[in-house]
């Protein structure tokens, strides 16, 4: 609690002691309840819940705060009252037996009464005093004392007696509720607010477009801070409850804890971790795009972790949802039977949006879940104006955030861009916005999912194809290639084409490789052939060369021999080479001789 708040609380405590009503939410907006030991006026039109408010004040006082209560009824007798509130869970007979409650039916019929001079209401005072003493009542309800205006003709006398009565009740120190009918332009038909000035509460029951909403407003609370707004309230099998919206404010904690969505591929798109705990996610999409299935995954994962989930379906019944989810392999029934999952279905048009939200907050506070699913939230906005619905959703979101409850709001769109725009109003309240789109191409419809925003994390910007299988939802990478973004069979076809193209490309490469190899082989063969030819020719030439050399030598020797024979210098063998070189022409001729000689050999 902040210091300013505690100071304020402390000051309130000093100023005025309060009697808690035990009515959920009401004690919050009044800072503790009704002014202790003083009268409070509760005014409203017929059937707006005055009697119930009063009765709950007494019953809770008797049970929770050990303050016995006296109910003085001017309209209904004990039996009628007991029956009326039994449907709300109050066992009056038991309380009466335990002397914690007393019902005093005061009947005043004008037809039976003849006025013949001065009188006062001492009889009523005596009666009240006697009843209060009997059970030592600390709380008193007069419902509704205005009946006296019809029964007693002398209004002037009655007014002065009422003034005295309220003073007297104050002096007795009992906390009193006086109910009154709402009058034209006034708080009460007979101007009772003139006498009861400590606290005035107005109950309202409005019907707009055939949808009723109950609202409560604290008009006046002398000496106390109080909420001045109109607060919606509920009357259900647990009695009267006011929507606790004191939590409205932007001071909630922001958790860094993450929770899996139950779909691994979706977690992967959210930094591999999933949602932030206590954040609100909007899941919008066209009909049949698989919104509820994603919600079922989130629930399934949460329940598997042992967390409690509360599901508010506005379109389908519990068995229907469970059956449908069974078809994608999610068994929600086991969580229901383990008490981890609770459904609270309601048709949107049953109440106004405020009543819906009050009902939802009540269920949430009672079940204390970690995950809440509203399916779809768009149906709620149907029963109210956009401004109202946003304000009420803000209250719901704030309440959930303060309590660190992760929320999944499902929104139904018609798929056009206009509708998506109109969702912006809601989306600003949301931390994460998942958009499911039907992608219609080539005569088939496929589901695509992408994350429009997700506060506080670097989420994926990729579209994923969303496929529902009999083992749950799966996200696939869509085909994003030169042919554009493709899904479904188009994706499969394109992928097959791509595969074929790759295969043929591979084949082409292999073929070329083979061609290259054979070219190399041919080249090598040619080289080998050339080598062989070269070898053959070179050996032939070498032979020729060596033969030539031999022939020359033989010729030179022959020349020497001839020289010796002709010049007698045959003994001078050492100068024969010089002589041979000098006489080139001799060599030429000698060569011719050699050839002759070779041919001869």
């Amino acid at each position: 609690m902040s210091p300013a708040k505690s100071i304020r609380r402390e000051r309130e405590r000093l100023l005025l002691i309060k009697a808690p009503t035990g009515i959920a939410g009401f004690d919050d907006i009044t800072g503790g309840g009704l002014p202790l030991g003083r009268p409070t006026l509760v005014s409203g039109t017929a059937g707006c819940g005055k009697t119930l408010f009063s009765m709950q004040f007494l019953v809770r006082g008797a049970i929770d705060f050990a303050e016995p209560g006296l109910f003085v009824s001017f309209e209904e007798n004990e039996q009628e009252l007991t029956q009326n509130v039994a449907s709300l869970g109050f066992d009056l007979a038991d309380l009466i037996k335990r002397r914690l409650l007393m019902i005093d039916f005061v009947r005043a019929e004008q037809s039976e009464i003849e006025e013949t001079g001065d009188y006062d209401l001492e009889g009523l005072f005596v009666r009240l005093g006697y009843a209060i003493d009997q059970i030592k009542a600390k709380r008193v309800v007069l419902d509704t004392i205005e009946a006296l205006f019809a029964a007693l003709p002398n209004e002037l006398a009655l007014r002065s007696e009422l003034r005295r009565l309220f003073r007297w009740l104050k002096d007795r120190g009992v906390t009193t509720i006086i109910t009154a009918e709402r009058g034209e332009g006034e708080f009460t038909r007979h101007g009772l607010e003139e006498y009861v000035s400590d606290c005035v509460i107005l109950l309202d029951h409005r019907v707009i477009e055939q949808v009723s909403t109950r609202r409560l407003r604290v008009v006046k609370y002398r000496g106390s801070f109080h909420g001045t707004n109109e607060y919606p309230f509920l009357i259900d099998e647990h009695g009267f409850s006011v929507l606790p919206i004191t939590s409205l404010g932007l001071n909630h904690q922001a958790s860094t804890e993450r929770m899996s969505t139950g779909i691994a591929q979706l977690d992967a798109m959210l930094e591999n971790k999933g949602f932030y705990r206590g954040s609100s996610a909007l899941l919008s999409g066209t009909p049949g795009s698989g919104k509820s299935s994603i919600a079922a995954h989130v629930i399934d994962a949460a329940c598997a972790r042992g967390e409690r989930c509360l599901y508010f379906p506005f379109e389908e019944s519990q068995p229907q949802i469970m059956r449908n989810m069974q078809s994608i392999g999610i068994d929600l029934g086991r969580w229901v039977s383990r008490g981890l999952l609770r459904f609270h279905p309601a048709r949107p048009h049953v109440y106004g949006i405020e009543t819906h939200l009050a009902m939802m907050l009540k269920q949430i506070s009672r079940f204390d879940p970690q995950v809440v699913v509203v399916d779809p939230v768009t149906n709620l906005t149907e029963v109210s104006s956009p401004l109202e619905s946003k304000a009420m959703l803000a209250r719901l979101v704030d309440y959930l955030k303060v309590n660190q409850i992760t929320a999944l709001f499902i929104s139904l769109t018609s798929g056009t861009h206009q509708t998506e725009m109109s969702e912006v109003a809601i989306s600003s309240l949301m931390d994460t916005w998942l958009l499911l789109r039907n992608l219609e191409t080539n005569g088939e419809r496929n589901r695509g999912l992408y994350i429009l925003k997700s506060r506080g994390m670097s989420h994926s910007n990729q579209i994923r194809e969303f496929v529902l299988t009999d083992r749950g939802a799966r996200l696939l990478d869509v085909y994003a290639g030169p042919a554009g973004v493709l899904t479904g069979t188009a994706r499969i076809v394109q992928e097959a084409q791509d595969k074929a193209a790759i295969v043929s490309a591979c084949n082409e490469i292999a073929r070329k490789q083979r061609a290259l190899a054979s070219m190399k082989d041919a080249m090598d063969a040619q080289i080998a052939a050339l080598h062989a030819r070269f070898a053959a020719e070179s050996s032939e030439l070498n032979t020729a060369i060596s033969e030539g050399l031999l022939a020359e030598r033989a010729l030179a020797e022959q020349g020497n021999i001839l020289g010796n024979l002709r010049g007698g210098r045959a003994s001078n063998g050492s100068s024969s080479g010089k002589k041979g070189a000098k006489h080139g022409r001799q060599y030429q001729s000698g060569r011719d001789n050699g050839q002759v000689e070779r041919a001869r050999t």
Binding site: V106, I113, E114, E115, T116, Y119, D120, E122, G123, V126
Partner: protein, 109 residues
């Protein structure tokens, strides 16, 4: 204090063929001027119009507060005609004699 005033027992007077037993109950709260005036007015009326054939029970709620519930008493003083039936309630100090007579069905409405 519940006081029974029954002149019939003391005087033994009965009103001929049309016997009408008046049973009246006056609720008061202490000895206030209004209550005293009511009692005085009632006695005078009874003497004058009921031929002595009446019973008056005076109940002081300050002493017997539990009795207020039975006859649905709010106003003080209240005169309740128990008999003859139907039960009638007349509130005030009974100073307006004509209205009292109407209330008791002694005058046509």
């Amino acid at each position: 204090m519940a006081v029974n005033i029954n002149p019939a027992e003391t005087t033994g007077k009965w009103s001929g063929h049309e016997h009408r037993q008046w049973q009246l109950r006056l609720y008061v709260a202490g000895q206030t001027p209004k209550c005293l005036a009511a009692l005085a007015n009632l006695k005078k009326l009874c003497e004058e119009y009921m031929d002595g054939d009446y019973q008056i029970e005076i109940i002081d709620l300050l002493q017997q507060p539990q009795l207020a519930k039975g006859d649905q008493i709010l106003a003080i003083p209240t005169l309740v005609r128990k008999l003859p039936e139907p039960v009638r309630k007349i509130i005030g100090d009974l100073s307006q004699t004509e209205r009292v007579l109407i209330g008791l069905d002694l005058r046509p409405r």
